[in-house]
Amino acid sequence: MSVPAEARKLVTVRGNWLLLAIAQLVVVAGVSGVLSRRDDQRAAVAHVGLVSLFSLLLGVVAMAGEYRHRTITDTFLAVPARRRVVLAKLAVLAPAGLVFGASASVTALTADAIWVGGRPDLGALGPTLAGGIVWNVVFAALGVGVGAVITNVGAAVAAALAWLALVEGVVAQLIGDAGRWLPFALGEALVGLPNNADRVTPWLAGLVLAGYAVVFAAVGVASAVRRDVT
């Protein structure tokens, strides 16, 4: 099985560790930005969820990067059943998203403790952190699917970022209420945002997001199987 090999691929690329480190800085800055102005610890630690952007990029680059560096040739020579390659990536990237989410949670709690000057209230912040971690796990898996469909790593990263920064907002305005079911909105629902009555419950949000990941993975497998590696 190629899961151990996929894990090794991930940890032998320094850029991935850099991504993990930058994510921590973003969390510290995000937590500090909120707590320096108001005492909303839940909104502060919700930045763990935004680290999912890094998890998404991690997944995209893990898959599309194989095409960029042409290591995909070696990978498919080793494992001609391409479906298994994509599944092995998912099996490694989902836990990697967990690592990103969990480490960001520790960082967020540490930063929070420093700002508040005491032990953070885990009971109050726990659900937000758990939602943030799930957001990371699902987005890392989603990234693998995106990278398998759009194998040009630059284009895949641009598409992923453009969706989150711009396109989803525009689409949400077009479809009104249904915008709650778009990926980023579901991620926000996972960490309990926006704080109003008609948001999707975290459980349902996690479930639908996982559905997105499954659909993208399926399209990714179909695309990887059909594409010639020239």
């Binding site: 090999a5 690329v13 320094r14 990067g65 560096h69 070696d74 498919f76 080793a78 010639d228």
Partner: protein, 247 residues
């Protein structure tokens, strides 16, 4: 089972049928371009030179054999099976396709350990193949700093990981200096005395003329010749005649 010291080498004898490479009506259409047209021929143990001008369809043919490119029609098999249907393909076929295919940030050793792991091969093969291609000293440097010749050696090491009876080498001489070429010839010779099937694609005729027993010549995606090198007479003259070159 072939015995060590067998005159046909350790891959000779009964295993021959298991390693025969057969193209049967193989065709590939890329949009409007016919890259390979109805190619039929068989390759047997020994060194086969796979020759043709640039763009003749050599690389596409080899990539179809390895399951990387899907044929539009026909089949390419190894011992009667498609590459994708081999239980441990890397124990049957080793391939060097080009000097790319390495993550620049990984070391040569990391690349080989990953390759062995995903191929279901023991990591204990890694030092062995590093020795075989004489890359041991550079094994723990990042591939980013490798010369083209070192990348070729690393690619060859990857191909040898599974100790396969069939070796497919696409332009293996690229980037090798004269002493590197001499080393490659010696290595391939030893592969052949062990009874392996070695296929070398090239457009450098002199390179192939020195080591091949048989040649397959393709041009514009079509087979032009398959047979013993000795049957061709002077290789360059024959090559140009067969590929619509001058002379």
């Amino acid at each position: 089972m072939p015995r060590a010291g067998d005159s046909a080498g350790r891959f000779g004898g009964d295993s021959r049928a298991m390693t025969d490479v057969v193209f049967s009506g193989l065709s590939k259409q890329f949009g409007a371009v016919s890259a390979v047209r109805n190619l039929t021929c068989a390759l047997t143990p020994g060194v086969t030179g796979f020759l043709g001008p640039n763009g003749a369809g050599k690389t596409t043919t080899l990539r179809m054999l390895l399951g990387l490119v899907g044929p539009t029609a026909g089949t390419a098999t190894i011992g009667g099976r498609r590459y994708a249907d081999l239980p441990y393909p890397r124990r049957v076929v080793g391939a060097l396709l080009d000097a790319t295919g390495f993550h620049p940030g990984r070391t040569g050793r990391q690349h080989l350990v990953i390759s062995a792991a995903q191929s279901g091969l023991s990591a204990s093969r890694v030092p062995a193949v590093l020795d075989q291609v004489e890359l041991g000293d550079a094994a723990d440097r990042r591939v980013r700093g490798y010369s083209l010749g070192m990348r070729q050696r690393l690619g060859l090491a990857t191909a040898l990981l599974g100790d396969p009876p069939v070796l497919i080498l696409d332009e293996p001489g690229n980037g090798l200096d004269p002493s590197g070429m001499a080393w490659l010839r010696r290595l391939l010779r030893s592969m052949v005395t062990e009874g392996r099937t070695v296929v070398i694609s090239s457009h450098v005729l002199a390179e192939v003329g020195q080591i091949a027993d048989r040649v397959v010549i393709v041009d514009a995606g079509e087979l032009r010749f398959a047979g013993p090198l000795a049957d061709l007479g002077e290789l360059e003259t024959a090559f140009l005649r067969l590929t619509d070159g001058v002379r």
